[in-house]
């Protein structure tokens, strides 16, 4: 059962997330009808699931909520701020009680009843609402008797999968029975439709089951058959041989049993009691109801796949890409045109396969945003500050597990921003800033990394305070000369705290070292930039877990390198002498001055004086830099393998890939190359 409970909980959590997003949208737009419908639907599903698992406490709770939204969607009630806040509070409570359905944990019980009374107040604001009831068991009215049942299906009875024989079997299970079938006469065999039902039955059954139980047998057949049920005896008589013999005799020819005859026969049998027949059961046809249009849901259907299977799939795809590279190479060296076509097709297919399978573990960062929006909203209420939450780059995709690991650190950072960064509206106004503060979450790709930034326009971090604190904690000495960036790094040291007052909300700044650890566990880096009164920006950089990239394969002195295509802007051909004779290291390209790096030189190969090189202009943050190589081999799909830990200091190499001929090409991190180059230039400049 644990697996089932786990599934219920997982599904409940997804439903609650869904609910929360819709509610937040409704906050800005209370008359958004489709979202109201969505809220209602989600609540309905959650209620259904909860009662399936016998979690009646939860089911009843949701039922009351659902009543409110049912009324809203029928325009019997308006969605007020009070209702919305109440619903959000109820949502938070639900997140807890799906784990504690008996309300055992402290606080849950009180909250539960408090919320229920609040909800009911709102719910009753409209018209009368019906209380929720789990399906009550039917009150059985058991008394012995013998029944006469005439069952005559319509001719199209069989056309919805019904099987009359099964119904008769069901009756027979209720007690001793006697069944007489009849067939309508078939007039003309040639016009006879064999799928039509021409049989009917008379059934006598002796049972102590209630009339309802008998009716129940025909519950699905009500509309498609004529069903007459009569209880003609309060005792059982079928097992009486005399009765049976006489009954049989009454229809020696295949005629139906006639109720009156049977009653007479029964009466003629000496028994203790004879009772009158019961009234013919009135089988009412259900009243026709107007058809409601079925809403089309725009949900994206999804299935769950085990992550082991995904890992295996990705490994196989990686190997496929490598093998396909060998095939491409082979076909280049052979002059079969047909082989070339096939090889190209395989390349296209494997590329698509790679994109889809590696995309499977990727989830948009948008998924996290809803949670943060909620956080900002709640905190601005609590702190009495006016803050707006903006997101940029929500479509940026990250591996699902990374997103899950990032959520807590990001929440903490946002909490900090709101608590210590953003000033109160009045203070801001005095400073000449807009009353409303801003917290922005931005995500984007660069090279083979993904960047996530939390930017606020609050009061910034006072570098001097940090410096003082760092000195007092012994992280640095008074005389040390460190850049602002280096000083800010101390914020991530354990035991560091710049908050003067320990607030309830974010606790002490101690959390930052844990945040940094979470990020480094993901092999990422985190850094802080801040300007007093302008705000603070926290930047998290994470390596993309994609291990197959589109790259540009280049050659320098016979050694192959791969530059990620995602950073490449344009390629030019340049003269080597132009590069070497240039003192300010700028080349004129397309009428722009572009800084460049002579990679041959940088990598300490022999420098070529004559001839040409290829200059690949890549983007590096805001600027564009040219990187020169001997020649460009072509585009290449690289399965990036980690390069050994021994090369961890050579961080401009982000990995290696195995080419079709078995040789190795090194994958370059252009950002690091620029960094390295800048360092060297500084050195040389000083010499």
């Amino acid at each position: 059962m644990d697996e089932l409970k786990a599934t219920y909980i997982q599904e409940a959590q997804e439903l609650l997330e869904n609910l929360e997003s819709s509610l937040l949208v409704l906050e800005d737009n209370p008359s958004d009808h489709s979202n109201i419908e969505q809220v209602f639907r989600v609540m309905h599903t959650l209620k259904g699931n909860s009662s399936m698992f016998g979690l009646s406490v939860i089911a009843e709770f949701v039922h009351d909520l659902e009543t409110i939204y049912d009324k809203i969607r029928q325009s019997k009630m308006d969605l007020s701020k009070g209702i919305l806040n109440c619903t959000l509070a109820a949502l938070d409570h639900l997140k807890l009680i799906i784990f504690d359905s008996d309300l055992q944990e402290a606080g849950n019980k009180e909250n539960h009843y408090r919320l229920i009374s609040e909800i009911r107040l709102y719910a009753d604001g409209g018209n009368e609402s019906t209380p929720f009831q789990m399906n009550s068991s039917e009150v059985e009215d058991r008394s012995m008797g013998t029944y006469f049942i005439h069952f005559e299906p319509n001719s199209d009875f069989l056309l919805n999968g019904s099987n009359p024989l099964l119904l008769i079997n069901e009756l027979a299970e209720l007690g001793p029975s006697y069944v007489v079938p009849h067939f309508k006469t078939v007039e003309d065999l040639s016009t006879f439709d064999p799928t039509s039902c021409i049989a009917s039955w008379d059934i006598l059954v002796e049972t102590d089951a209630s009339m309802d139980a008998i009716k129940d047998v025909f519950i699905f057949a009500e509309d498609d058959a004529r069903i007459d049920i009569h209880k003609f005896m309060l005792t059982g008589i079928i097992q009486n041989e005399q009765f049976l013999a006489k009954a049989k005799a009454s229809h020696l020819r295949p005629e139906h049993l006639v109720l009156e005859e049977i009653i007479e026969i029964a009466a003629s049998i000496p028994v203790e009691e004879n009772e009158e027949k019961e009234q013919l059961v009135d089988v009412q046809a259900a009243a026709p109801v107007s058809k409601k249009s079925i809403e089309k849901e725009k949900a994206i259907s999804s299935i769950r796949v085990s992550s082991d299977k995904l890992d295996e799939l990705m490994n196989l795809v990686s190997e496929l890409v490598t093998t396909q590279a060998s095939l491409s190479l082979f076909s280049e060296n052979n002059t079969s045109a047909e082989l070339e076509v096939i090889s190209e097709n395989i390349e296209k297919l494997s590329r698509r396969l790679r994109d889809i399978s590696f995309g499977m573990t990727l989830v948009q960062i948008n998924n996290m945003f809803a949670r943060f929006q909620r956080l900002v909203r709640d905190m601005s209420d609590m702190l009495g500050k006016e803050v707006v939450f903006i997101t940029e780059g929500g479509e940026t995709e990250l591996d699902k597990t990374i997103i899950e690991t990032l959520t807590d650190p990001l929440m903490h950072i946002i909490r900090n921003s709101m608590d210590h960064g953003i000033e109160k509206a009045d203070v801001r106004e005095q400073k000449g800033k807009p009353r409303q503060g801003m917290v922005k979450l931005k995500a984007y790709y660069s090279g083979i990394s993904v960047f996530i930034q939390i930017i606020d326009d609050g009061k910034g971090i006072d570098v001097r305070k940090v410096r003082e604190k760092a000195i007092s904690k012994g992280f640095m000495r008074e005389e040390d000369e460190l850049s602002d960036k280096e000083i800010f790094d101390f914020i991530f040291y354990p035991g560091f705290s710049t908050a003067e007052v320990v607030t309830d909300v974010s606790g002490r700044g101690v959390g930052m070292d844990v945040v940094k650890r979470n990020i480094t566990d993901l092999k990422g880096t985190i850094s802080v930039e801040s300007k007093p009164d302008h705000g603070t920006t926290l930047t998290i950089k994470l390596p993309l877990s994609l291990s197959i990239i589109d790259g540009l394969l280049v050659d320098i002195s016979g050694v192959k390198y791969v530059i990620p295509l995602s950073v490449v802007r344009k390629c030019y051909e340049v003269k080597n002498e132009d590069m070497l004779k240039n003192f300010n290291k700028l080349l004129l390209l397309d009428e722009r001055q572009v800084p460049y790096i002579n990679l041959r030189q940088e990598f300490e190969y022999e420098v070529a004086m004559e001839g040409n090189s290829q200059l690949i202009v890549v983007s590096d943050g805001d600027q564009e830099v040219g990187i020169s190589v001997d020649f460009i081999v072509g585009e290449y799909q690289a399965v990036v393998k980690p390069i050994s830990k021994y090369y961890r200091n050579q961080d401009f190499v982000s990995g290696a890939t195995i080419l079709g001929d078995g040789s190795i090409a090194l994958v370059i991190d252009t950002h690091k190359i620029v960094e390295l180059y800048t360092k060297h230039v500084k050195m040389e400049g000083k010499l």
Binding site: S644, Y647, N649, M683
Partner: protein, 173 residues
Amino acid sequence: MKTEDGNELLIGQTKSFLSFKLDSEHFAIPVMKIMEILEVPKITKVPQAPVFLVGVINLRGAVLPVIDTRVKFGMTPIDFTINTCILVVNITFNDEEIMVGALVDFVSEVFDYDERKIKPSPTIVTKYRSDYIEGMIQEDDHFMMVLNIDKVFSLNDLESIVETKIEKTEELL
């Protein structure tokens, strides 16, 4: 099993070793640590790496770093001859197992040796860092140094060449 002295010779104390040469010196490594022995394939050099890191090779789809063992021992860099081999060894570093290729001039033989007979390395200052050497084996007329390859190829010694170059330059200023 008993030796002539009547002492119990536990089977577990006889170990297999592989011996190889760097220049004229003999060394030995426990066979357990060796995954395979390769002829030298094409080595791809990684720029700006310490001198003892020769480059990387493709070992059945995995990228294996190759270290010039001679340089590690302060000798001149390796001269590739027909006898030069790569020993693919498994070293343990910080509880992690890492594969590395070690370039050697000549692979001699595999032999069994009673571990208890391994002599401790002499306390007089040796040419080589004492933590590299676990002990000495005397065989016929020559000595073999038994290596602690976890220490020899430790990842702690990477901060060598490149940083010092920059540090030295900074000092000059």
